[in-house]
């Protein structure tokens, strides 16, 4: 293969939408420079020179951030003391939106994954960044990171204990003993609506 041999590459945008556009002649020049700066490109000998279409796209694998990567980044921002309060609050809200979006996904099926998500969401329900100290945010950051790599029961137990240690409560009061009449009426409305397939 000569320095001017061009490897077979996809030529259409459909095949490689993320590919970098490479100028053919610049590429050829750079290959020529790499081998023999003073040797001009060979011409006229078809067996040595291979041409492709003028626009060549190299396929690049660019890692796209997953929703959990985004969530981790938001929470890290929320913990960043060099940011102002509004930025940190917005970052925390963005983290919660990202985690809620993950919870909505039918692909979030592994029980331990759901448990961990549920613990984080329940412990931050109706809470703003100002309601949580840095220790709690650090626990949430650790929990979100654990979600990225198939959490096991041990991860759930550790996060549960860590949340308790920082005073964050992840249990939701669902007992129906001793409810007020007002709450009972509200629940009955919900049941009636649900039984008609609307909420």
């Amino acid at each position: 293969m000569t320095p001017f041999d061009i490897p077979s590459v996809p030529v259409s945008d459909e095949e490689a939408p993320n590919a970098e556009i490479v100028d053919l002649f610049k590429w050829l020049s750079s290959r020529a420079d790499a081998t023999s700066p003073n040797t001009p490109p060979q011409t006229g000998n078809a067996s040595n020179v291979h041409y492709q279409a003028p626009r060549i796209r190299k396929r690049l694998r660019q890692a796209r951030p997953t929703p959990l990567d985004t969530a981790v980044a938001h929470l890290a921002t929320s913990l960043d003391k060099s940011r102002n309060a509004i930025e940190r609050s917005n970052a925390f809200d963005a983290w919660r939106d990202a985690v809620r979006a993950v919870a909505k996904s039918p692909s979030a099926v592994a029980p331990e994954f759901r448990e961990l998500l549920g613990l984080m969401l329940a412990s931050t329900h109706k809470k703003d960044a100002v309601d949580l100290d840095e220790h709690t945010l650090a626990v949430l950051l650790d929990a979100t990171t654990r979600l990225k790599s198939r959490p096991a029961a041990i991860d759930v137990n550790r996060v549960s204990a860590a949340l308790r240690a920082v005073g964050a409560r992840a249990v939701v009061p669902l007992s129906v003993d001793g409810l007020s009449d007002e709450v009972t009426r509200e629940l009955e409305e919900i049941i009636e609506a649900a039984e008609h397939n609307r909420l």
């Binding site: 909505k104 996904s105 331990e112 759901r114 549920g118 329940a122 009061p173 129906v176 649900a194």
Partner: protein, 270 residues
């Protein structure tokens, strides 16, 4: 009798701490702080599993297996009852109805996320939320946490048999014969209006133990006389706190333990 320095919360007191009604749960927490240190009884975890965790698992199973919210509520009512429907409605109220108005696949995922978390977390919370545990009976069933089973949960409470039980409940009853004799005597003289179905069952078991020296623990006996088992374990505590006055007023007189009855019904907002 030398009393232990801690108070004991009955199972129902722990459940009151889970109550949505803020006056009830807030008051239960105040009592817990006022009476610190507070312990629970090991066997209470079995009662809690039956009264609360199993209900959550029912909801999780029906949500998982249904095609829309209406089907969930119908199946929950048929399999459980109104109470279980109310629990699911509580969860929906907590999350906000608007957040669950999307398509069923999303709603189902959100509900399952929270139900899965609550099944495990409620169990962990039960022991973590008190300062210690009394477990003279070394209840085997109380060690059996909710366990994941595929996409669902195993929250069964098996009948006790020799093959699956290593507890010391027989020893506890044998060591409590004097208390059981006083209990039988108290039930025999109590007005009929004070004798509930459970007290009758308790008295029957107590008579057997006094007569034979043996406690027939196999099967579900302990679950049918949970109040007595808990009372025997709590008898040396500083004070026993319960909202279940119906059985414990008589039990506390007979077995001799200080009692504080939590009148939660009076706290409900009208």
């Amino acid at each position: 009798m030398t009393r232990e320095p801690f108070a004991v919360f009955d199972t129902d007191m722990q459940i009151h701490r889970f109550c949505e009604e803020p006056r009830v749960s807030a008051e239960a927490e105040k009592i817990r702080l006022r009476m610190k240190p507070v312990h629970s009884i090991g066997f209470s975890k079995v009662e809690f599993k039956g009264a609360y965790i199993q209900r959550l698992a029912l909801l999780q199973s029906k949500v998982r297996d249904s095609d829309n919210i209406a089907e969930v509520f119908v199946r929950v009512k048929n399999s459980g009852g109104r109470r279980e429907q109310m629990m699911l409605a509580q969860l929906i109220r907590f999350l906000g109805r608007e957040s669950l108005r999307g398509d069923w696949a999303e709603t189902k995922s959100i509900l399952l996320t929270h139900l899965d978390a609550q099944i495990g977390e409620a169990w962990r919370w039960f022991s973590a939320s008190v300062d210690g545990e009394v477990d003279e009976a070394r209840c085997t069933r109380a060690l059996e946490a909710p366990a994941r089973s595929g996409a669902g949960w195993n929250v069964s409470i098996p009948d006790c048999r020799k093959q699956n039980t290593r507890c010391r409940v027989s020893a506890l009853f044998k060591a409590s014969v004097d208390e059981l004799k006083r209990l039988v005597a108290a039930v025999d003289v109590a007005p009929e209006s004070e004798i509930t179905g459970e007290l009758k069952q308790i008295a029957s078991i107590a008579r057997d133990v006094v007569a034979t020296g043996a406690f027939g623990w196999e099967g579900r006996t302990c679950r049918s006389i949970g109040d007595l088992l808990i009372a025997l374990e709590a008898k040396r505590c500083r004070v026993f706190v319960t909202s279940n006055g119906k059985e414990h007023i008589l039990l506390s007189r007979a077995i001799d333990y200080p009692l504080d009855v939590f009148k939660h019904a009076e706290l409900r907002l009208k």
